[in-house]
Subunit: 218 residues, 2 copies
Amino acid sequence: MISETVENYLKALFTLADEEGKVSVSELSQCLEVSKPSANSMAKTLHQEGFLIYKKYKPLVLTKYGRKAAALVIRRHRLTEMFLVEKMGFAWDEVHDVAEQIEHVQSPMFFERMDELMDFPKFDPHGSPIPDRDGNIVEADWVPLSACAEGDSVSFVGLAQSSKSLLQLLDGHKIALNQIFEVTTIEPFDQSIVINRDGFPALTLSRQVCNEMLVRVK
Amino acid sequence: MISETVENYLKALFTLADEEGKVSVSELSQCLEVSKPSANSMAKTLHQEGFLIYKKYKPLVLTKYGRKAAALVIRRHRLTEMFLVEKMGFAWDEVHDVAEQIEHVQSPMFFERMDELMDFPKFDPHGSPIPDRDGNIVEADWVPLSACAEGDSVSFVGLAQSSKSLLQLLDGHKIALNQIFEVTTIEPFDQSIVINRDGFPALTLSRQVCNEMLVRVK
DNA sequence: TAATATATTTAGATTAATCTATATGGTGCT
DNA sequence: AGCACCATATAGATTAATCTAAATATATTA
């Protein structure tokens, strides 16, 4: 059984990886707030278990097996964050520390139930994609609108999950598929987004709405 | 911060305590499936931390402080069990192992939210009382009907939580406060209970209903 | 290319929780 | 009272995860 500590190292390695999948021991130790010798020694252990490739003085690289294990921890983390916000009334910025603990619960059923109850969300409350049951992370050309930066020009290409009430809301604002708009402002207070479209007045969309709207950044 | 291991020892000590609060090292070691020296050595640690009274060759007794800490772990365990059943569609006999893990989550808010969402239940899905926020365990002369044994003769004295739909259901069956009845059968399959009352035909009540009905055993 | 700075590794110690094997205290029986 | 038995305690080792201090490798830069 994978210990919580190992799961945390895997998660860190996954998120720190650069384009080639490389992570330095220093980065790793900093990210986890442990000493460099600790990170180094754990790297050797993870190598022995087949989670990563360790060669003296070389950057660390997760194996396929390691990446899958890591993605599954991240899946549990993000599902939990989403559940805390959607079903338990937490604010999106209060969930991290709790999710950090719950992600280690050993019970596939527990996370499957969360997933079901939320109707299989594709993104967490911060707009990060939730890996699927097999650890595949949806590599798509779209992101939730909530993940965009001020000034981005985007086209609206779909919804993360479609509910009647959301469709009605979008309809009411005359927002349609393939429409093009610009992210004018992101409110620091509540992360609501102001968009601008040709031929329409400026429009403010709540964080919840932006989480569900998938856009392609130009 | 109290480690998970310590929390598990406290929980075991609390539940194993006899009328005088005494627990032997052997019982403790058996309950937690550790060796006797392990239990002994942890007993010394818990003594140092003020959780229990340890005297060589004498039975272990939790201090007031220890009992409170233990009750709070049990509170989290039972709240979690209830939440899994009520809000996440688990069966009442599937929840123990998961709750065993979640009870250690460090986040008062998380458990407060559970409590609120369930409308402050007084008993867990197995009919055991849920200690309050201060670690007080309701010592009452009534128990949920679901905690009764076949053959018990009881009087109906109240509800654990009253919802309109439950009241309507009871009304429909002409069940009223202070009525006296006998627990005739407990179905092994779904823990539904058949009761018998003077002047009424036999009646089957579901586990959910029995959980909410508080009775005094004669 | 040599000197220096930075990153990485090794050595050795620490802590919490556990174990096995052994020793000792307390209780009950003859 | 003495002996045997069971519960309890001690000694000493082990494991995972961590640390500090010191040594060594790689990279940078004069």
